[in-house]
């Protein structure tokens, strides 16, 4: 008979402790805040699910959530096809491979607040390279501190600049793993370039693309630093994404209860959408 050895649990213990201190316990304090009201001095009153109701019914939350989905949708619909297209046009072998890879990796190496600051200066109408060029050379009235549309164009462009490389690198990894025989067979079968993409390259990239889309979804849905540094959520509230709004409530207004309830809802939405994505994209593999 097989005897179960329970000793292995001890090896998991350090990880458990680590996760407890950096995730579980902080999260439980958030849960704790979300059901109570405080006026300072460490005095708390039981509030039940009131904060959750209030957040879910608030127009402000709906608006921020809408902007958040819009932002994520826009960057995904640009970054994924663009990333695949760049990966397809990169060389597969030779001298230029490392050059391309390093160039692609560069934007991702820059700290997020620096990216925000860079783009802020870059787009200033009077002294920024891009801002000056658009306003004074092309004559387009562009000022993202005044015009919501300009602000949106700027944060989306900035994210595309910063993160398309991730999709490129992952797609490229999928592409180079395809053996030459597939391309040769396709040539003999008389397949068009589109067929090669549709039936060979895309299926082989599917796994890495799933990961790329999931990562880009989660990152962009939780994005804070770059738009905060770039626009601070403005002009008005036009680029106030969920995370920016959350910080405003938690630290600006010091409403810890509503902020905690909002974080939990925010977290639940991220989790739910990620799960939906993953389930939809991998459901074929089970058959």
């Amino acid at each position: 008979m097989k005897t179960d050895n329970q000793k292995a649990w001890f090896f998991v213990l350090p990880v458990l402790l680590l996760v407890a201190f950096n995730a579980l316990i902080p999260m439980m304090t958030v849960v704790n805040y979300s059901v109570q009201e405080t006026f300072g001095d460490n005095v708390f009153f039981w509030q039940g699910l009131d904060w959750f109701q209030q957040i879910l019914r608030s127009d402000r939350f709906h608006a921020a959530l809408g902007r958040q989905f819009m932002f994520t949708f826009l960057i995904l619909i640009i970054e994924v096809p663009l990333g695949i297209a760049i990966a397809l046009s990169m060389p597969r072998k030779g001298f230029w491979v490392p050059v391309c890879l390093v160039l692609m990796a560069l934007p991702m190496l820059i700290p997020w607040n620096v990216v925000g600051a860079m783009w802020n200066i870059f787009t200033l109408p009077d002294i920024g390279l891009l801002g000056y060029f658009l306003n004074h050379v092309l004559g387009i009235n562009y000022d993202m501190t005044q015009d919501p549309f300009a602000a949106w164009v700027t944060i989306v462009t900035m994210d595309v600049w910063h993160w398309t490389s991730l999709v490129v690198l992952l797609s490229y990894a999928g592409l180079v793993s395809i053996p030459d025989a597939y391309y040769q067979a396709a040539k003999i079968d008389g397949a068009s370039n589109w067929s090669v993409f549709r039936f060979i390259q895309l299926p082989k990239m599917k796994t890495v693309l799933t990961i790329a889309i999931l990562l880009r979804f989660m990152d962009s849905f939780n994005i804070y630093t770059e738009p905060f540094v770039l626009t601070g959520g403005g002009p008005g509230n036009s680029t106030t994404l969920l995370s920016i709004d959350l910080v405003k409530i938690a630290l600006g207004q010091f409403d810890l209860g509503p902020a905690a309830a909002m974080s939990l809802i925010y977290f639940a939405i991220t989790l739910l959408v990620s799960w939906l994505f993953y389930t939809l994209m991998t459901k074929d593999d089970l058959n």
Partner: protein
Amino acid sequence: MDKITLSKLRRSYYPNPKQPSDYALKEIDLDWTDGGANALLRPSGCGKSTLLNIISGLLVPSEGQILFDGQDVTELAPDKRNIAQVFQFPVIYDTMTVYDNLAFPLRNRGRDEATVHTRVMAIAEMLEVTDLLDQKAAGLSPDNKQKISMGRGLVREDVNVVMFDEPLTVIDPHLKWKLRSKLKELHQRVKATMIYVTHDQTEALTFADQVVVMQLGEVVQIGTPVELFERPAHTFVGHFIGSPGMNVLPCTLSGGSAYFGEHRIQLEGPVKGTPEGRTEIGIRPEFVSLAESGLPAVVAKVSDVGRHTVVECQADGHRFNAITEGAGPEKGAAVFLDFKRSQTRLYVDGWIATEAGEG
């Protein structure tokens, strides 16, 4: 049904090849008969992929021509030639069903769905995959995947040449036999010229009517399996085909006879020309027997391989294999080796240098 002619074909991966060693493929002149079953036998890495890719049009030769039935197709694109190629690792389109996989080459060529259906059903039946047609191709076993990639080649009614690039590499041993006999059967039914590349002598010899043996990008011998076995044109062929391979012994020539050490060995026939270079005697173990008299030797190793016994003997620091029926002698025993005269050949610098005797 095409006759394939390779004329003065060479391929180099260098822009300006100067010496023979710059060529991945040395000069090849070759005819593959119409509708024949041909094999290309070679040890790993000697320009066989290069040769196959040139025939299928994926590569353009540096020099020379390829003719299909006398027509120059050297510059023609792969999909314009009537060829199909089955690769070492099965190539299938994962996201399509088996049916769509088989239909793919026809649909790409704009055939109407009725024709596609008839062809696919016929090929599926021939390959015995009819009950798999609705399945996703990704989930198939390796042998079925390989059948589908074969089917994609055969489905086109205009295919005249089917090339197999070590198609059984990833197949389980017990299925290899089945798939190989399926291949033979297919060859008889579709009557296409088939070229089968392999490094496995059994596969080549059982499949083909004509075998081309290559070494280092060079054709060493072309012949039927029997010819390759009985009269290897080069010591390499002798080594490569047969198990164990041919015995090759250094010898000296004197007065038209060959001497191994002091021992005179009779050759099958007269020596061609005046040999210059390294001289060797080649004889297959099947024709070396233990006798009452002959070359004295000591038994070094005896291995029972089932149908017969391989006796490894040593004489003058050289090893010989002899094949005997039944149990062999003890290890360490002193024996005499007799070489069957009609099967004893002289090789000069590796190449055969005796004329066939009367037998």
